[in-house]
């Protein structure tokens, strides 16, 4: 059927802030969907609270609302924009849940909005556990024995009837939040309680554990006429038991015979036919490795992390095709954009191996419980493409940026065999390396399969690599021949890995390769294994005979992407890379992107003119450079991942556009940078780099406590802390030097002032600041975790002039060409510099959207040689708008057991939301709501536990709260302080004081807000830590900084009537 012409205006709901389990993949899918609808001449209305996305860019939709993703705000948008249709499956689980709720509440009916694509009835059949079970019975599909329960006792009763272990899965949550495997009644009680709480509908599913079965996924599509295709099969290398988001996944499935494969494929198609999916759907199976028995685990009738992976793995644009189906097209009417000739109604076939590797945040969260289970913990992922499993695996390992180039890992080598065995049975993020270590020690491969449930096929491949690594260890540089070196390269070994095992340097191996001409070729990802000529310039490297890349003689620029999403380097950097490409294209330059993140817009096949899906290491990037010989390479937008390559590029004489490596080093090297500041006469908190504990103590005493300590060369405030005395400092330093003795630790005087941040563009002479951002929390809270306010509310014009002046001085002195990010502290009226990053930062998308200044576009043009003065934006600071926009961080700490929650100098947030209003309080209100926080009202209950040094400040704010009709519950010290100030409060026991204590009170659900201002973070044994964990695990709003609490009370005092709040279309309403 051709397009449904009654569709004129479609509402698309995004997935909101990046959290674990719902990341950049929805920006990719959502952006693709919006474009796919737009190109049909249909208007798109977009609602998404996440300002860091491409999707919410100016002009991406016709009407873009960066507003809280709640029913009330969505209704406002619907009322204002009157879309005739809504597409439900493009915004992840969030978008799906909201669409269902809009439908259930009759809002869609009220405004005559029809659901296009998969219907709400169909969605519900797959989503709700009970109806899913009925659906499976109807379609004659096996499922795992299970029961839905709404209370803990029934769960225990059912578990006894089917036997432990059992798996607990809450209904309607993201990334399996709140689920887990229970081996006995006690564990079941704990997991079930939490699961019931987290489920939107108060249901959890208890099911028999089938740990050890293969986990297989299919991405399937169906159109309105009933035509069905499968886009891709995927097999989890880790068997059932580890969440698919935390598993190494390979595509296509590797270990299934055609009979098994077709059995599951047919099942997937029968299911989507039965519920009449119109669009894409993900179907997950468990398959008994010893029979034809299988079970359907779940279906997701929407775009997903897996659909993004399947799209990137095959080249088949699922979201784009899904959107077209929703508009009425059939699969055989939609062109295959990759071949340009065939149609979307076919099944991609691939001729390479794709691997997905999760990227976990444990490098940031040392204390986290790293055991992998049914709850997803990875923040991001990488994808690698190779001709063999081994090559893909090694590419994947080095893409992770965890310092690994082979399978030999220091921490695994240090473990004894017994420990290793225990660890691979209860897997964590190091399982692969632990397994490799066991094999290295001669442990039987078959036995590893037996205890892990992993297929021999995979374990044997790992054993192959271990064997090769061991062989390399016995070799010297002289032992290499053209033949054996080719063999190692074909199997995926990098020069770095080879040299590490052999004991030489990467240039030694590189020289041999040059001598024998052992160079990779690039192959195309074309959806059809070469059967048809393809037009997509999407490549991966392989040591093979034929190179398929046609190098043009146009002027071309290469952009280095930012790799996997991790804490401190998120989707913002992908936003920057994509915009850089757009700017280059506009300038008529051929664009080349190199990146390895399958979730992103930058790795969509039609973003850049050429896409190289490769690890972002020196060697892998050099391969592309040597082939393409770009006129310039841009590193500024790929975060620290790209910046890390600067020196190498410099050595290889590869032209870098923008700020030169020398200057980057000048900004990053503390001493060089201090010297620059000194010549410019700019002040910064006194401090220095120290190399030992003794030197550190001495320095701190000179500076005066408290001091801010951190390792040098970091992103995202890794390992940064404020220490208040000798003991704390000693502990920090000895720990830091133990981890890394080769680099100094930086000690700064800690200034508790107002933090200010600017992103600026410099052309070498002039500087342009799109906007100055003020942080709500005072210094000490990582800039990525504090609430940013624009335009600044408390900065005088004089201070702004100073900021402009200093920014210009530094930028010019550092010879910045392009972006620079500077963080200041206004300490008692004096402007101090705390950090300079000669690159794009995570605030760029935010400032771009709230100012309307195309920051990356300007920066890119500057890098190409244009002058700011000629560009029409001028120099100096951009005029401020009438609206206030706040960026509020969003955390995923509830998904990471035993991770500290409080705000501090180490970054912990995974995402962000925007709040826009005509005044600060309105903006903050929206920001809080969008971030999922509760703003207390009269009658609300607040639990408080505050250290004595903060009592005074706390009591002042508490008084205002009381005036607003809030009630307090507090622990002893805080209660006393409150009572002394005449504020009534209920006393609650500390944990050590017996039960029921503060933890029980929080869990009981009577609390609306928790204020817990910690003295020192990261102490797992402290009451505060447990209180904070309980708060996030019980989804109660938690405030850990006095400034945040103050701001929230300011908001409460405004008595904001949500129904009267304005909503803003960022394409039109920001500057009226």
């Amino acid at each position: 059927m051709p397009r449904d012409n009654s569709i004129k205006k479609v509402l698309v709901i995004g997935s909101g802030p990046i959290v674990i389990g719902q990341a950049a993949e929805f920006d990719y899918s959502g952006t693709q969907a919006c474009q796919s609808i737009k190109e049909e001449g249909i208007d798109v209305v977009l609602v998404n609270s996440n300002p860091a996305t491409i999707m919410t860019d100016l002009g991406m939709a016709h009407y873009t609302y960066i507003e809280p993703l709640t029913i009330d705000f969505l209704e406002k948008v619907i009322e204002k924009e009157r879309p005739d249709s809504i597409i439900a499956g493009m915004g992840g689980q969030t978008g799906l849940n909201l669409s269902c709720e809009l439908y259930d509440r009759g809002i869609l009916d009220k405004y005559h909005v029809k659901v296009i694509g998969t219907s709400i009835e169909s969605i519900k059949e797959g989503e709700d556990r009970d109806s899913f079970k009925r659906l499976m019975e109807r379609t004659n599909q096996p499922i795992v024995e299970s029961d839905i329960v709404t209370d803990v006792d029934s769960a225990i009763e059912f578990a006894q009837s089917i036997g432990y272990p059992v798996i607990v899965r809450p209904a309607y949550t993201l990334g399996g939040t709140g689920g887990g495997i229970a081996h006995d009644e006690a564990e079941l009680r704990e997991i079930c309680t939490q699961g019931l709480h987290l489920s939107r509908v108060g249901q959890v599913l208890i099911e028999k554990s089938i740990a050890g079965w293969k986990e297989i996924e299919f991405e399937v599509m169906r159109d309105g006429a009933g035509n069905c295709i499968t886009v891709c099969s995927m097999e989890n290398v880790d068997p059932v038991g580890v969440h698919t988001g935390d598993s190494i996944v390979v595509a296509p499935a590797q270990t299934l015979s055609d009979r098994e494969y077709q059995m599951l494929r047919s099942a997937a198609i029968n299911i989507i036919n039965s519920i009449e999916i119109k669009g894409g759907c993900n179907v997950q199976f468990a398959l008994d490795p010893n029979s034809y028995n299988y079970a359907v685990i779940e279906i997701n009738p929407r775009v997903s992390r897996s659909s993004a992976l399947a799209s990137k793995a095959t080249g088949y644009p699922i979201a784009k095709v899904g959107a077209k189906i929703a508009l009425g097209y059939n699969l055989d009417e939609i062109k295959n954009a990759v071949t340009g000739k065939t149609f979307a109604c076919f099944e991609p076939t691939i001729d390479y191996v794709v691997l997905k590797f999760p990227r976990w945040p444990f490098d940031k969260f040392f204390g986290a419980k790293r055991t992998l289970g049914t709850k997803m913990m990875a923040t991001g992922e990488i994808m690698s493409i190779g001709k063999s499993f081994e090559a893909a695996l090694l590419k994947g390992v080095r893409s992770l940026e965890i310092g690994q180039y082979g399978l030999e890992r220091k921490s695994s080598s240090a473990r004894d065999l017994e420990t290793l065995k225990k660890r691979v049975v209860t897997p964590d993020d190091e399982r692969l390396f632990d397994m490799a270590e066991m094999i290295r020690r001669g442990y039987k491969v078959e036995k590893i399969c037996q205890i892990t449930g992993m297929d021999l096929f995979f374990v044997h491949k790992i054993a192959n690599l271990v064997e090769m690594e061991e062989e390399l260890k016995t070799m010297s540089l002289d032992d290499f021949t053209e033949e054996n070196l080719t063999y190692f390269k074909e199997k995926g070994f990098s020069d770095k890995a080879i040299s590490r095992f052999v004991g030489c340097t990467p240039p030694d191996i590189y020289a041999l390769r040059k001598k024998w001409n052992i160079m990779p070729v690039f192959k195309m990802v074309d959806t059809c294994a070469g059967e048809f000529e393809a037009v997509t310039p999407y490549y991966y490297s392989s040591y093979d005979s034929e190179n398929e890349v046609v190098v043009s003689n146009k002027k071309k620029v290469m952009v280095i992407g930012s790799g996997p999403i991790r804490i401190g380097q998120g989707i913002e950097f992908d936003y920057c890379s994509v915009h850089c490409i757009m700017a280059l294209k506009k300038a008529g330059i051929e664009t080349i992107i190199v990146n390895n993140n399958p979730e992103t817009v930058s790795t969509d096949f039609d973003t850049a003119d050429k896409l190289y899906f490769e690890p972002l290491t020196e060697e892998d990037v050099l391969n592309v450079v040597e082939l393409e010989k770009p006129d310039g390479v841009i590193l500024q937008f790929g975060g620290q991942t790209a910046i890390k390559l600067a020196n190498f590029f410099d050595e290889m004489h590869i032209p870098i556009l923008g700020t030169l490596p020398e200057q980057i080093d000048e900004a990053e090297d503390r001493e060089k940078f201090d010297a620059v500041l000194e010549t410019l006469g700019i002040s910064r908190p006194k401090g220095k780099g120290v190399w030992s504990v003794a030197e550190g103590i001495e320095t701190a005493e000179k500076l005066g406590f408290p001091v801010l300590v951190r390792p040098s060369y970091v992103l995202g405030g890794q390992g940064m802390e404020i220490t208040y005395n000798d003991d704390q400092l000693k502990m920090y330093l000895s720990d830091a030097f133990e981890k890394d003795s080769k680099n100094p630790v930086l000690i700064d005087r800690y200034l508790c002032g107002r933090e200010i941040e600017v992103d600026a563009i410099c052309d070498g002479t002039d500087v342009y600041i799109p906007g100055i951002m003020e942080h709500l929390e005072r210094a000490g809270v990582h800039s990525g975790d504090s609430i940013s306010i624009y335009p600044p509310q408390n900065i005088s014009d004089d201070m702004k002039r100073q900021i402009m002046d200093v920014t210009k001085k530094i930028s010019v002195a550092l010879k910045v060409i392009g972006m620079i990010n500077i963080q200041f502290i206004d300490f008692k009226g004096e402007l101090n510099i705390i950090e300079v990053n000669p690159r794009s930062s995570r605030t760029v998308p935010y400032i771009t959207k709230v100012t309307g200044v195309p920051v990356i576009d300007i920066a890119t043009r500057v890098m190409l040689g244009e002058k700011l003065a000629d560009m029409g934006y001028g120099t100096g600071i951009c005029d401020e708008p009438n609206v206030v926009a706040v960026k509020v961080p969003v955390f995923s700490t509830e998904k990471l057991p035993q991770v500290e929650v409080s705000l501090g100098p180490e970054m912990r947030s995974t995402g962000e939301v925007l709040g826009v209003g005509y005044n600060l309080e309105n903006a903050l209100y929206k920001g809080f709501i969008a971030a999922g926080m509760t703003v207390p009202k009269a009658g609300s209950t607040i639990i408080a536990t505050v250290g004595s040094k903060d009592h005074e400040a706390f009591v002042e704010i508490a008084k205002r709260c009381k005036g607003l009709g809030c009630n307090f519950i507090a622990t002893k010290g805080t209660a006393r302080a409150l009572k002394e100030a005449g504020i009534d409060c209920k006393l609650v026991k500390k944990i050590s004081e017996g039960v029921p204590n503060i933890i029980d009170t929080i869990r009981s659900g009577v609390v609306d807000l928790i204020v817990d201002i910690p003295k020192k973070a990261n102490n797992k044994k402290s009451d505060g830590f447990k209180i904070r964990r309980t708060a996030v695990e019980s989804s109660v709003t938690l405030i850990t900084a006095m400034d945040t609490f103050d701001a929230m009370v300011n908001v409460m005092e405004k008595h904001i009537d949500e129904s009267k709040l304005d909503i803003f279309d960022i394409n039109r309403d920001m500057r009226k």
Binding site: T255, Y261, N330, K341, F346, D351, K387, H460, E533, D544
Partner: protein, 364 residues
Amino acid sequence: MKKTVKAELILENGVRFKGNAFGYIKETVGEVVFTTGMTGYQETLTDPSFAGQIVTMTYPLIGNYGINLEDMESRRPFLKGFVVREKCDVPNNWRCEMDIDNFLYQNKIMGLENIDTRALTRVLRDNGTMRGIITTRVGDLTPSQIKQKFDTYTNAYAVKETTIDEPYVISGRGTHLAVLDCGIKQGILRDLAKRGCKLSVFPAFTSAEDILAVKPDAIFLGNGPGDPKDIPDVVETVRQLIDTGMPVLGICLGHQLISLALGCNTTRLKFGHHGGNHPVKDLKTGRVYITSQNHEFVVSDLSDDVEATFINVNDGSIEGIRHKTKPVYSVQFHPEASPGPLDTQEMFDRFIKMIEEVKSHAKR
């Protein structure tokens, strides 16, 4: 590094691919084709339609789940060579009984691995199917030796090689089909038997008279290797059978033979359709099915009595025909799959329904 025997594939157009030999090491000549199926290498290996051909798998990892005795499509492989990027030496699957290296060795099939199979695929795609030699005499064959090998290669007797010597019967209580075995896959027989059909299976060159002697309800022609025009005798037999008014059904080569018998033409595709992802449109309903395909030749120039029932969505080629008045119906694709998607399984039901209708009509 393991010890290997070097070997190379020499194509008719002079392009060479150096790799390692495996399986049964003996020089071989064949028509080189590629297949894009990602699973089902065992079914491919044992599909008689590949007789005389050197088959390249576009998927690089082959042999992962080994070989079992259940998934054989015929009594032995008939292909001339098997080319893969990487064969699996340590396969694993609960049904795995043998590895691929041994299987090829036992069946005297030459294997070639570790070549750039994608580059080979692209050569075939751009230049069309051509002949090739796999030899361990790397670089040693003289141009005249190569020419001679190509010149003496013929695949005209492929059906003769793959068909059976003696007729046999698969018992069943339902519809009685006389099956002409031109190299038929077990999958087709399995799917018909599953539906209760009684199958009288005949060698390809059986006369119409002998076939009709068993009093079948219908005639069925399955897949097989080579050019349908190489076996005019069989085409003639089919024509005679059609003339009896009895239902005649076909798949793949059978479909081509029927078409020739009905006065249509067959032509060679540039590089064939081999794989499990080919979209085929039912012209009556507009529905598109993903099908398994394995053919070099295609039906063209339909005669006036014949109409197309299915077409290929990618290249518009004919995928199914019917006679406008007689109960003759055939498809180019493989509803039995093995290997490939099972989406057109109902074709078998369609066949049987058609036969039953003719039967009940005759009774009335």
